[in-house]
Symmetry: C2
Subunit: 161 residues, 2 copies
Amino acid sequence: MPPSSDFTEARPGQVPLLLAVAYRAMTDRFHALLAELGREPLRPAHGYTFRYLASHPQATTVDLAAHLGVTKQATSKAVAELADWGYVERRPHSTDKRAQALALTTRGREYLELADELWATVEGQLADVIGAERLAALDQDLRTYIAAVHADQEVSFRPVW
Amino acid sequence: MPPSSDFTEARPGQVPLLLAVAYRAMTDRFHALLAELGREPLRPAHGYTFRYLASHPQATTVDLAAHLGVTKQATSKAVAELADWGYVERRPHSTDKRAQALALTTRGREYLELADELWATVEGQLADVIGAERLAALDQDLRTYIAAVHADQEVSFRPVW
DNA sequence: CAAAGTAGTCAATCCAGTTGACCGATTCCG
DNA sequence: CGGAATCGGTCAACTGGATTGACTACTTTG
């Protein structure tokens, strides 16, 4: 059950929905930018995978599954797909013969860089509308909240998808 | 592809992800509150349905489908389910014999009220962390952005689900 | 060094959506 | 008017991305 969707009057409890709608608007914009460049739009789960692999050398499928919050079977399929598409490669793990060391290919890293640029562009549109100071405050406040809520636990990266 | 998930250093383009993570944290909290009360957790789509029906008397399945951004077939199934569960009722439409007038039952309205309370509670946690003034600014800024982006079009209520 | 546990895959199933086909009611126009 | 096109709703078949379950090969533990 999402928060109220009646925007006409401000009532307590609407901020969660506002977050969701704003995020949705930004992802729509992101995909529009990708489409303009003629790039294939990977799905959100793929992006989370890329980012995890970029910062975790020798990550395994099971590690990734834990990070994504889905089963290892689902992750295994997704990795196979990304490998087929040339974004990810699976090499023998250096210490565990059962495992595979996952890593981004050059193509994968290049896609990730582009994505970062596009997200910055999208964020820039927000800055254009509310101003740089407000954007900084927003950034800060969200980080504060997330840090408070996830004080002990790991941050759940998987949004709602 | 989602924005970067490396929180350790602030970089441009991270606000979209922060929005997503914050929203996810809030929905997690919302569901935790529901669970504490022993209430069955309806899915987000159901909540959007409730809110639409609450504010649109005599809404039809096709109206609802357009609002939700899914096909009328998918909507038809969801409505049947909610009717089975006693949240929604389908009555003959007053002017169109093909159509059904959808409406929340008392049980449906009661659930919606509870949901509003719980969302306000969740929002309150954010206020506790960042303060009431910052919360108000956040609310305002997000509304401004959403209004700017959806200047002409209808707001897309369906987040990513 | 045997028993228990772990990494990864294959297979079957599930679920919420899709497209396509259809019926009865309605609206549009020639 | 009355026929043609459209619209509301449902049934059926399919799809994509998840799930659970079962299994093999390797690793860790006692």
